[in-house]
C-alpha cells in the first residue's frame, strides 16, 4: 500500500478511559499491559491497549517502576530506590510517576479484601 506508514511512531491516542489520580501514599505496580524495553537512555514503554509509547528517561526511573510492587507505597519506593532523596528529586519522581499513572504504565494495587477467617 502506498499509504505512508513510516515516520516516527508517535501515537496521539486518547488517554485511558479512567485516568486515575496519583496517590503517592498508595501501593502501585507496573501494569501487565505494558511492554518495557531497555534502551541506552532508560527504557521505552509501550501500552498494548492504548498503543501509546512512553519514554522513561533514566535508568533510576526504570528501576522505580519495576520496584514499586515491592513497597507499600510509591513514596516508600522512591525513598528506597532514588538517590539522593532531596525534596527536589522526590518531587520530580512523584511527578514522573503521576504521568506514568496517567498513561497507564503503572496501576494501583488493589488488595482484595477476602473474608477468609
Amino acid at each position: 500500500m502506498p499509504s505512508g506508514s513510516a515516520d516516527a511512531a508517535t501515537q496521539k491516542r486518547p488517554q485511558a478511559d479512567h485516568p486515575l489520580a496519583f496517590d503517592s501514599s498508595a501501593k502501585w505496580e507496573r501494569s501487565a499491559k505494558i511492554g518495557l524495553r531497555p534502551e541506552p537512555f532508560g527504557a521505552l514503554a509501550y501500552h498494548f491497549d492504548t498503543r501509546r509509547l512512553v519514554f522513561l528517561k533514566s535508568a533510576v526511573l526504570v528501576q522505580l517502576v519495576d520496584g514499586l510492587v515491592d513497597h507499600d507505597s510509591a513514596d516508600a519506593a522512591i525513598e528506597a530506590i532514588v538517590e539522593p532523596t532531596d525534596d527536589r528529586s522526590r518531587q520530580a519522581h512523584v511527578k514522573a510517576l503521576a504521568s506514568l499513572a496517567e498513561a497507564g504504565v503503572i496501576e494501583p494495587v488493589t488488595t482484595a479484601i477476602s473474608s477468609v477467617g
Binding site: T10, K12, R52, L53, K57
Partner: protein, 397 residues
C-alpha cells in the same frame, strides 16, 4: 537523575520537545539509534491488485524471491525477541499473501502488535469479523480522496467504493477504532474537514500523512505535491486537530511556526535507520519505507545474524546515526524547527541530503527542484514491480 526541574520522563504522545537539561535531550539520544526500531514497516508482498500513481514501493507483481512462510514466521520470532512492540504490515496489498493471517496470528501470539495497511478490497464481512476477534490488531485503510473522483484519479477506478465497503464491514463487525489514512495531495487538501466528519461517523481515527516522491511517486510528485499556500493551510489544520494522526510526517512544515514558536505535535526529526526502518518483501532492510534504493539498503534478514545485526551493525545505519551537518540549511533560521526535512524527499528529487527539503515551506528548494527535474537527474527506485506503466488518471478540476 541530575538535579533539574524537568521531569525524567517525556510522553512522546504529547510532544517530544524537552526543556534544556544536563542530559542530552531525548531527540538527540534517539538520533544515536535504539537497540531496536520503534517504527518498523514490513512490506509482505510486492503484489497488488491496484496500481496507485504514488505507490511508495512501486508495487504490482509478486517477486519470486519473497520470504516464504517459514522465513516470515522466523522474522516475527526475531522481532519478538528484540521486543519490537508492533509492526506496520503493508505491501503491495498484504492480504494477497495466502499466509497473511498466519503471520498476523503468530505476531499477536508473540505479543508483537500489528497494524496493517490495506486498500480494503479483501475486507469482506467474514474478514471483518475475523479481524474484530483478533487482539492487538489495528487496520488502516487508504483513501486518497473524500469522493470517488478525487480518490480514483490516484488509486484507480473502483478503489473508493472498495475502501468504503471495507469501512462499512469493519463498522458492522464492531471492529472498533480503525484508521482511515490519507496521503495529502493538492487535490484532497481542501477535503480534510469532510474526511474528519466521515472518520467521526465511523468511530474511526483519521491519519493524514505527507506525500513523498518515492516509488512511483517519483513521477507523480510534481502533479500532486502541495503548493506553498496549501502547506500553510495544512499546517494550520493539523495544529487545530491534535487528535488526527500524522506519523510525524509534516515536521518540515515547522519552519512555518518559527516566528510564533508553534510546532506540530510529535518528533521533529528524520528517523531513518535511527528509529525507523523497512523490511521489504524479499527481506532487504532499508533505512525507511520511502527510500527503496540501493544506497539505503543495509542488508537482508536472510544474512547471518538476521535482522538484529543489520539493525545494530550495518555500516549504513551506523552512518545515519552520526550527527548530520546542516549543509545548505545552515544559514536558515528555521533549521532548528524543521531539521532540514525528509531525507527520502531530498534524495528522489535530486537534492543533496544536507540540502533543503524539496517541500521547504520557505521556498528555499524551489529552484533546485526545478533545475534537477529539468536536467532529468532524479534517481529512480531500484525495485520496480509495476505491472505496466502507471499514469495519473483524469485529474479532478
Amino acid at each position: 537523575m541530575t538535579a533539574t526541574q524537568s521531569s525524567p520522563l517525556t510522553l512522546i504522545s504529547k510532544s517530544a520537545s524537552t526543556k534544556t537539561q544536563a542530559v542530552p535531550p531525548l531527540v538527540e539520544q534517539l538520533k544515536g539509534g535504539l537497540d531496536a526500531p520503534i517504527c518498523l514497516t514490513w512490506e509482505l508482498t510486492y503484489a497488488c491488485n491496484l496500481a496507485c500513481v504514488h505507490c511508495l514501493s512501486s508495487s504490482g507483481r509478486r517477486d519470486p524471491k519473497e520470504l516464504t512462510t517459514a522465513e516470515a514466521l522466523a522474522v516475527v520470532d526475531e522481532l519478538a525477541d528484540l521486543q519490537v512492540f508492533y509492526v506496520n504490515l503493508g505491501g503491495g496489498e498484504p492480504m494477497l499473501r495466502k499466509d497473511f493471517l498466519d503471520i498476523v496470528d503468530h505476531a499477536v501470539s508473540r505479543n508483537v502488535g500489528v497494524k496493517f495497511s490495506t486498500n480494503g478490497y479483501y475486507i469482506d464481512k467474514a474478514a471483518a469479523e475475523r479481524f474484530a476477534a483478533t487482539d492487538l490488531l489495528d487496520i488502516q485503510i487508504s483513501l486518497d480522496g473524500f469522493d470517488a473522483e478525487t480518490n480514483d484519479a490516484v488509486r484507480g477506478k473502483g478503489s473508493w467504493e472498495a475502501a468504503r465497503r471495507a469501512m462499512d464491514n469493519l463498522a458492522d463487525a464492531n471492529f472498533g477504532e480503525f484508521k482511515i489514512s490519507i496521503v495529502a495531495t493538492r487535490h484532497n487538501v481542501d477535503q480534510l474537514d469532510d474526511y474528519k466528519k466521515m472518520a467521526d461517523e465511523y468511530g474511526a481515527q483519521l491519519r493524514v500523512t505527507r506525500l513523498r516522491p518515492s516509488g512511483r511517486g517519483v513521477d507523480s510528485y510534481q502533479d500532486l505535491r502541495l503548493t506553498h499556500p496549501q502547506q500553510q493551510q495544512i499546517f494550520r489544520w493539523i495544529m487545530d486537530h491534535p487528535d488526527v494522526l500524522t506519523g510525524d510526517s509534516f515536521f518540515h512544515l515547522n519552519a512555518l511556526g518559527k516566528d510564533t514558536g508553534e510546532t506540530l505535535p510529535g518528533l521533529s526529526m528524520c528517523g531513518a535507520g535511527r528509529i525507523v526502518c523497512l523490511i521489504d518483501p524479499i527481506g532487504d532492510v532499508y533505512a525507511c519505507p520511502f527510500v527503496i534504493h540501493d544506497e539505503f539498503m543495509a542488508g537482508n534478514v536472510r544474512d547471518t545474524g538476521g535482522f538484529a545485526s543489520v539493525w545494530r551493525e550495518s555500516d549504513l545505519f551506523q552512518e545515519l546515526r552520526e550527527p548530520g551537518a546542516a549543509g545548505a540549511c545552515a544559514s536558515c533560521n528555521a533549521y532548528e524547527a524543521c531539521g532540514g526535512g525528509c531525507m527520502a524527499a531530498k534524495f528522489f528529487t535530486g537534492i543533496p541530503l544536507d540540502g533543503p527539503d524539496p517541500d521547504c515551506a520557505l521556498g528555499h528548494a524551489d529552484e533546485a527542484v526545478a533545475a534537477a527535474s529539468a536536467a532529468g537527474v532524479v534517481p529512480q527506485p531500484s525495485q520496480d514491480h509495476s505491472r505496466r506503466p502507471v499514469t495519473l488518471g483524469a485529474k479532478p478540476s
